[in-house]
Amino acid sequence: MKKYWAIFKTQVINSLAYPTEIMWRSMAILIFLWVFTFLWRVAFDNSSTTILAGLTLHDTLWYLMLAETIELSRPRFANTIAQSVKDGSIAYLLCKPYDFLLYQLSVNAGDTVFRLILTFIFGSALIWRMVGAPPDIWGWPLTLIAFSFGWLINFCLTALIGLAAFVVEEVTPFTWIYQKLIFILGGMMIPIDFYPPWLQNISKALPFSYVMYGPARLFVSPDLERFATLLAGQLAWVAVLGVLVSVAYRRGLRRLAINGG
């Protein structure tokens, strides 16, 4: 584990090499949240009640803040894996004394840290100014745990897309569609509570909501029962997807053919 910790730390330091770039990227959250604030204010104004689907305007905007933070800080390495498979550079990683998937995990975890912190700070500052203080602080550690397992689910799904390069020529369209599944079925653009019941059931049964909706909803309504249910679902998905990634990787390696280089 020591070597993966070293890779993680190196990547954290690397991500700080271009502070301006990481700052501009993190600031993207301000645009999205600013638009959401206009939209949801009007939506709540049009309704005759202050609570919609169990959420107030304050809850909805803090929910969207966390969901956007998760979206903007989640690693997007499917194309990196796909490229290394296509151009054969994966061979250089395979002959190193570490596991390829754990290496990717450490690198992407290291990449996430500062992006997550900065995005959270920018997003919180804006939403705090718009609708007031954040939800109860005692729920934050629970949210952080839920976020971590959601991050692992996202890692497995992204790795599966990247590993698809062993079979298909182009994986970029899969990354676009995956992102939109996270947007809609994951509840990034609109809390799943606002969906019609049939769509809520579908969304909650799929892994995307465990990446996004679960942690964000826990953030605005922290309670132990919700946390336990969420964690159980996340652990189940991590187990299933972890096995799938491992199988896909081993099968992919069998198909790999590198000529020269």
Binding site: T20, E21, W24, R25, M27, A28, I31, F32, V35, F38, L39, V42, A43, N46, S47, V168, E169, E170, T172, P173, F174, W176, I177, Q179, K180, L181, F183, I184, M189, I190, F194, Y195, P196, L199
Partner: protein, 268 residues
């Protein structure tokens, strides 16, 4: 006058030759090309589900309904697609500048900016274009005369968008590699263009007509596609012309500051 006409004709001929070469190059990898088109259409359709769900619950937002969103999405996706497919390098102009790859275009007897932005095509842009047209057809605002207005709106919105990209990427001449900032501003114009303009008021609205001209890429061309008003057409044309002029001036001024280590090479 005749000389000027000939020069325009020559540049247009050159532009069509580049587009043809770009298309042939994309078609070389047919499966990847088609999968990117289909993937992008599906991607847009999933994104649009947000509005379907939203309006299912809230019915309207200050006078805007789902039909209007189909129309504004149609205009924005089509103009994004046109820009990406025909002027794909406008999306990565800052990298071209920062890496000294402008040398290649500077060494050619052709307009540098036009050549640089049209030298690359983004194949998925075709998917946006087809999706945008479909969205317009489904909006309920389709008519044959409306289609003509839609085409005019898309053309002016594409000029606006491409000019905006050129301006923000040209900041690289002054700031060093400004690709992250350019991406942020591109996200801003696209995000704001895809929301009902009636949401915004006061300073926010002013911003969307000036600094981040998202209104000229979404709601104004959409209302032109709905009904022809000379005010809309005039305003949109004027806005697109000003932005295009500004883009050319900013790029030209930036070019004076351009330095590189003589990286003349083949651009592929």
């Amino acid at each position: 006058m005749e000389g000027k006409k000939n020069s325009v004709r020559r540049e247009l001929k050159f532009l069509f030759a580049i587009w043809k070469a770009n298309l042939q190059s994309a078609m070389e990898y047919r499966v990847a090309f088609i999968s990117q088109i289909l993937g992008m259409m599906l991607n847009n359709a999933f994104y649009f589900l947000f509005w379907v769900i939203f309006f299912e619950r809230f019915k309207e937002v200050r006078g805007w309904g789902l039909q209007d969103m189909f129309l504004v999405f149609g205009i924005t996706a089509t103009s994004f697609g046109v820009t990406a497919f025909l002027f794909g390098n406008a999306f990565s102009l800052s990298e071209v500048i920062a890496q000294g790859r402008l040398d290649y275009y500077l060494s050619m007897p052709r307009p540098v900016l036009l050549h640089a932005v049209s030298a690359r095509s983004i194949p998925s842009g075709m998917g946006d274009l087809i999706y945008g047209l479909t969205s317009y057809l489904l909006s309920g605002y389709f008519s044959w005369s409306g289609l003509g207005r839609f085409a005019v709106g898309v053309t002016l919105a594409s000029v606006t968008f491409a000019s905006f990209l050129i301006i923000v990427h040209s900041l690289t001449f002054w700031l060093g590699n400004a690709s992250a900032l350019a991406r942020l501003l591109m996200n801003a114009i696209l995000t704001f263009a895809l929301y009902p303009i009636t949401l915004f008021n006061g300073p926010a609205k002013f911003l969307l007509f000036t600094i981040v001209p998202a209104a000229l890429m979404g709601s104004v061309p959409a209302s032109l596609a709905r009904d022809l008003t000379w005010q809309n057409l005039g305003g949109l044309s004027l806005g697109a012309a000003i932005l295009l002029g500004l883009a050319m001036v900013v790029f030209r001024l930036g070019l004076r500051r351009y330095e590189s280590g003589s990286a003349i090479q083949i651009e592929v």
